[in-house]
C-alpha cells in the first residue's frame, strides 16, 4: 500500500546542502509492520517526516515515486496532505508528554481531530472522544476526558497520543521511537497495545527505532539504515540469523541479549581476549539500612527505604529498577553528593555516612569513590577542554605538579582509547562516544577503588555502547576496581555484573548472583522485568 522509490531528502542549512536521506526505496504491504532501524543520524526519522510532508521549510524532497494507496504523496497539494494526515496516515512521536498540548484537556484534543476529519459533529464529538480513550484502554475514560497532560503518567500520555492518532481509523500508523524514555514495563504495555490495535484494525505500520531488539519483537520486516541509505532489508528472522551487510552484522552483534557475553558484542575482528577479573573476599562497600526522606511542598517522599547490600573488592554489582525506584538517589548518596537520612555506609570498613556531603570534597576518601554519569554531554563543562576535564580531579585531590598531571592525563586517555589529539577539543567538538571516554578517563584518573556508573551508556548508540561496555570490562580487570552499575536495562546489566539488586519504590525487591536472578527469579516483579525486556531471536551460532 505504500511504495517509495528513490527518495532523497536534503536540507538547506547555512553550511550548504546537507543530504539526510539518499536514494532509498522500499515497499509496505497492507497489514504489515515494518521496522526502520538505525542509529542517530541514519535518516530514519527524516524519512517518515518526508512521507508525511511535515519537514521544515528547509527540507527538500525529491522522489521518483512516493505513492500511498494510489495517491502521489510527493506532488499532492498541501490541502490534500492535510486531509491525509490524521485520517489516512497518522504519526506518533517520542516524548508523549510534550506531544500533547499542556493547556488543553485531552478529551478536547481528541475531539479536534475527530471534527477536523468529519468523524464527529459538535454533538457526538465528546462521546466519540471517550470511546477513543476506551479503545486505548484508559481506565475511567468519562472522567479522564477532562484531564490535562500533567495529570497523567508517561505511559498514559502515550496512550492518549495513540488515541488521537487512531481516532479517525487511519490505514497507516507511523511510530517514531514511541517508547524511548519510557520504563521497560511501560514500554512493553504500550508496544503491546499498539500491536493489538494495529492488528485488530487491519492497519499497516512503520515502526522507527534505534533498538534492534525491540524491532525484532514487534516487526514483520526490518529495514536497516545508515547515514541516509538503506543497507539491508529483510524478514526479521533473517536479519538476525543471517545478516548480510557488515553494518547489520555489527548492529546485531552489539544488541545485548541474554545468551551473549560481553566480548561478542563487538565485531569479530576487534576481539582480544577478555581478561577475567578477580573477586576478592574483602568487602569494599557495605550499605546498612540506608534511607532517604525528601521533604517537599506537597508532603514527604521516602525515596529510599532501608536498603542493605554489600560490594566485594573486584565485584561488579548491578542496581536495576524503573524510574522512581530510588536507584539514582542511592547512587547519589553512595557517591556522597547528597546525605542519607538514616543508615550507614561503610567504605573499606570506615563509616562515611557520618561525613557530611558538603565537606566530602576535601576528604581523602573522595579520590577512592568516583562516578561516571549518564549524559556524556551534560557531564562535561562546556568551557573545559578534554584535557582540563580529565586533569580537574588530579589538580584538586593530589599534589602532582603540571608535568606529572600531563603524564597521568595521557595515561588515562590511552587506557580509555581516547586519541591524544582530541585532548585540546571542547565537548561540542567531540562525538558522543568520545565524550563518554572523556568522562570515564576523568573518573579513573585517580585510580578509584569504587566506580559508580549511573546509566553510562543509556544515551549512546548501540554500537558505541558495545565498545564502551567492553572498555569498562577491561578497565575493571586492569585497575582492579569495583563497580556499582546502575541501569534500567536488564540485558546490559546481566552482561556486565556478577551480582544484581532489583529495586522498586525505594526498597530492594530481590538481590543475588546474576545468573540466579536471571535464570531463577524469586519475586514476581523481577519476573515482570525480565519478561518485559525485548528478546531478539536467538542466533544459531552463539560463541
Amino acid at each position: 500500500m505504500l511504495s517509495v522509490q528513490n527518495l532523497n531528502v536534503k536540507f538547506n542549512t547555512r553550511k550548504g546542502l546537507v543530504e539526510a536521506v539518499r536514494d532509498i526505496s522500499f515497499n509496505l504491504k497492507k497489514g504489515e509492520i515494518l521496522g526502520i532501524v538505525g542509529e542517530s543520524g541514519s535518516g530514519k526519522s527524516v524519512t517518515s517526516y518526508a512521507l508525511m510532508r511535515i519537514l521544515d521549510n528547509t527540507g527538500l524532497i525529491r522522489a521518483n515515486k512516493m505513492i500511498y494507496s494510489g495517491i502521489d504523496l510527493d506532488n499532492a497539494s498541501e490541502k490534500l496532505m492535510m486531509d491525509i494526515r490524521g485520517r489516512e496516515v497518522s504519526m506518533i512521536f517520542q516524548n508523549p508528554r510534550t506531544s500533547l498540548n499542556p493547556i488543553r484537556k485531552i478529551g478536547v484534543q481528541i475531539e479536534d481531530v475527530l471534527r477536523r476529519h468529519s468523524r464527529a459533529t459538535r454533538y457526538n464529538a465528546k462521546q466519540k472522544a471517550i470511546e477513543a480513550l476506551r479503545a486505548v484502554k484508559i481506565k475511567d475514560p468519562e472522567n479522564r476526558y477532562y484531564s490535562y497532560p500533567y495529570q497523567l503518567s508517561g505511559g498514559m500520555c502515550q496512550r492518549v497520543v495513540c488515541a488521537i492518532a487512531l481516532a479517525c481509523d487511519p490505514k497507516l500508523l507511523i511510530a517514531d521511537e514511541p517508547t524511548t524514555g519510557l520504563d521497560i514495563t511501560t514500554q512493553k504495555a504500550v508496544m503491546d497495545l499498539i500491536k493489538d490495535l494495529i492488528l485488530s484494525r487491519n492497519m499497516s505500520s512503520i515502526f522507527i527505532t534505534h533498538d534492534l531488539g525491540l524491532a525484532s519483537e514487534y516487526c514483520d520486516r526490518i529495514i536497516v539504515m545508515k547515514d541516509g541509505s538503506i543497507v539491508e532489508k529483510g524478514v526479521t528472522k533473517n536479519i538476525f540469523t543471517y545478516p548480510k551487510h557488515p553494518y547489520t552484522q555489527k548492529l546485531v552483534n552489539a544488541t545485548p541479549r541474554p545468551e551473549k557475553n560481553i566480548r561478542s558484542l563487538l565485531p569479530p575482528q576487534v576481539k582480544n581476549h577478555e581478561v577475567k577479573h578477580v573477586i576478592q573476599d574483602h568487602t569494599i562497600l557495605e550499605v546498612k539500612n540506608l534511607s532517604k526522606l525528601y521533604k517537599g511542598q506537597f508532603g514527604s517522599i521516602q525515596a529510599v527505604k532501608s536498603i542493605s547490600f554489600k560490594i566485594k573488592k573486584g565485584e561488579c554489582v548491578g542496581l536495576v529498577g524503573e524510574s522512581g525506584c530510588g536507584k539514582s538517589t542511592t547512587s547519589a548518596i553512595l557517591s556522597r553528593l547528597i546525605d542519607a537520612s538514616e543508615g550507614q555506609i561503610f567504605f573499606d570498613k570506615k563509616d562515611i555516612s557520618m561525613l557530611p556531603s558538603k565537606n566530602f570534597s576535601k576528604n581523602p576518601i573522595r579520590s577512592h569513590i568516583q562516578m561516571v554519569f549518564q549524559d556524556p554531554t551534560e557531564s562535561l563543562n562546556p568551557r573545559y577542554t578534554a584535557k582540563q576535564s580529565i586533569s580537574d580531579p588530579l589538580k584538586n585531590l593530589t599534589n602532582m605538579n603540571n608535568d606529572e598531571i600531563n603524564t597521568k592525563v595521557i595515561e588515562a586517555s590511552n587506557l580509555v582509547g581516547l586519541p591524544l589529539n582530541l585532548l585540546d577539543r571542547l565537548p561540542h567538538q567531540l562525538s558522543g562516544g568520545q565524550k563518554a571516554r572523556v568522562g570515564i578517563a576523568r573518573a579513573i584518573a585517580l585510580s578509584p577503588k569504587l566506580l559508580i556508573l549511573d546509566e553510562p551508556t543509556a544515551s549512546l548508540d548501540v554500537s558505541i555502547q558495545a565498545v564502551i561496555l567492553n572498555l569498562l570490562v577491561d578497565l575493571r580487570a586492569k585497575l582492579g576496581m569495583s563497580y556499582l552499575f546502575v541501569s534500567h536495562d536488564l540485558n546490559v546489566v546481566q552482561l556486565l555484573c556478577d551480582y544484581i539488586i532489583v529495586m522498586k519504590e525505594g526498597v530492594i525487591i530481590e538481590q543475588g548472583k546474576s545468573n540466579q536472578i536471571i535464570s531463577n527469579p524469586k519475586e514476581s516483579y523481577t519476573r515482570l522485568l525480565l519478561e518485559a525486556s525485548p528478546k531478539p531471536p536467538k542466533l544459531p551460532n552463539v560463541p
Binding site: 511535515i54 492535510m82 497518522s90 510534550t98 476529519h117 500533567y150 497520543v161 488521537i164
Partner: protein, 344 residues
C-alpha cells in the same frame, strides 16, 4: 486547603507575597523623600520668616520628630488616606493625584492598546513567516524601537507633524484652549465627551491625544513585538504543535487553539513589564507635550522639593504597579491549568 482548592491556595499565596513588597515600597518611598534636599519648613514659611516662625512651622509639619516617629506618623496617615498637602498647590496630595491620574492613565492605556494592536499581530506574522520581509521588518522595528529615546521621538514627531506638516495641533496639553472640558465623570476625556454627546470636544481631545500616544506606543511597540515573535517561534517549533500538524489540523486551528493560546502566557507577563516602563516613560512624554498628568506633577514637585507630592507620586506609582503585577499573575493562574499543581 492546599489539596482541595489548589488554585485558590496558589492565588492566596501569591497575593500574600505582595504584602512584604508593599511594605518595602512604603519604606523606600518614605526614606527617599526624607532625603530630599532643601528644608520644606523654610520654603513653606516664606522668604521673610525668622528662625522662630520657621521652627513653629517645622513643629506643625512634624519635621522635628525623629525619623522613626515620622515614619509612624506617615504610615498612620497613609492608612487614613492622608498623603499630606502639596506645597505648590496647597491641596491634599491625594486630591491632586486623583485629579491628574486620569490624564496619565488615558494616555498610557491608549498607547498600550495601540501598540498591542500593531505589535502582537506583527510578532505573530513574523513568527509564522520566518525570513520573509515581514520578519525582517519586525526585527528591524524591534531593534530600532528599543534604541529610540522617548523624548526625542516626541520632539521629532512634533517637528514633523506640527511644524512642517501642520497636521497636528500645538502640543500644549489635553485640549486646545478653544474647547471646554467635558463634564467630569471618569476623567477620561474620550469617555466623558462621548457620554455627554459632545463630539466636537471628543474630536479635539482625540487630536491632542494622537501625537503623545503615538510617541509612547513607539516606545512600547518594540518589547511587545519582540516577546510575541520569540514566544510564537518557540511554541511553533514545539512538539505538541508538531503532533497537531501531523494529525492534519487546519492551519487556523493550529495557530489559534494550539499555538497562540500557549504563546500568550509569556506575552501577558511582558505586558506587565512594559506597563512599568511606560509609567516611567510617561514622565518624559508628559513633559514634551505639556500633558497635565501625574508625571509632570512629579517633575514640578521635584524641582521645588515638594516632598509630600513627590512621595505621593512615587508611592502611588509603585502601588499601581504592584497591584497590576498581582492582577497579571492571577490572570495567568486562571489561564494556565497547571499552576497550583506543579511543585516548583
Amino acid at each position: 486547603m492546599k489539596n482541595k482548592f489548589p488554585k485558590l491556595h496558589a492565588a492566596l499565596f501569591r497575593s500574600v507575597q505582595s504584602i512584604p513588597v508593599l511594605i518595602g515600597v512604603v519604606v523606600i518611598s518614605f526614606l527617599l523623600t526624607r532625603a530630599l534636599p532643601g528644608d520644606p519648613a523654610v520654603y513653606f514659611a516664606g522668604a521673610a520668616a525668622d528662625e522662630q516662625s520657621i521652627n513653629e512651622i517645622r513643629i506643625a509639619m512634624g519635621l522635628d520628630k525623629t525619623l522613626y516617629e515620622q515614619f509612624f506618623v506617615y504610615v498612620n496617615n497613609l492608612m487614613q488616606g492622608n498623603l499630606g498637602t502639596s506645597l505648590s498647590t496647597g491641596q491634599p496630595v491625594l486630591n491632586d493625584l486623583i485629579k491628574r491620574l486620569p490624564a496619565s492613565l488615558e494616555l498610557t492605556i491608549l498607547s498600550l492598546i495601540l501598540s498591542s494592536l500593531i505589535s502582537i499581530p506583527l510578532g505573530i506574522l513574523a513568527a509564522t513567516r520566518p525570513d520573509s520581509w515581514i520578519d525582517h521588518l519586525c526585527r528591524f522595528l524591534v531593534t530600532a524601537g528599543v534604541s529610540l529615546p522617548t523624548f526625542f521621538t516626541g520632539i521629532l514627531l512634533i517637528y514633523i507633524f506640527y511644524y512642517i506638516l501642520g497636521l497636528s495641533p500645538s502640543p500644549i496639553g489635553r485640549l486646545d484652549f478653544m474647547y471646554i472640558e467635558p463634564n467630569l465623570v471618569t476623567g477620561f476625556y474620550l469617555i466623558d465627551a462621548a457620554i455627554s454627546n459632545d463630539w466636537e470636544t471628543w474630536i479635539g481631545a482625540t487630536k491632542q491625544l494622537i501625537l503623545p500616544s503615538v510617541t509612547l506606543s513607539l516606545f512600547t511597540l518594540a518589547p511587545i513585538a519582540r516577546m510575541t515573535r520569540a514566544s510564537m517561534l518557540t511554541i511553533l517549533s514545539s512538539e505538541f504543535v508538531r503532533t497537531a500538524k501531523a494529525a492534519g489540523l487546519s492551519n487556523g486551528k493550529v495557530l489559534f487553539s494550539y499555538a497562540l493560546r500557549n504563546a500568550l502566557l509569556p506575552i501577558i507577563t511582558t505586558l506587565g513589564m512594559v506597563f512599568s516602563f511606560a509609567l516611567g516613560a510617561n514622565v518624559l512624554v508628559e513633559k514634551v507635550f505639556a500633558w497635565p498628568g501625574i508625571g509632570s506633577y512629579a517633575v514640578e514637585a521635584l524641582i521645588v522639593s515638594d516632598y509630600a507630592a513627590v512621595q505621593g507620586f512615587v508611592l502611588s506609582m509603585a502601588i499601581m504597579f504592584v497591584i497590576l503585577n498581582l492582577l497579571i499573575d492571577l490572570i495567568y493562574m486562571i489561564i494556565d491549568p497547571r499552576i497550583g499543581f506543579e511543585s516548583k
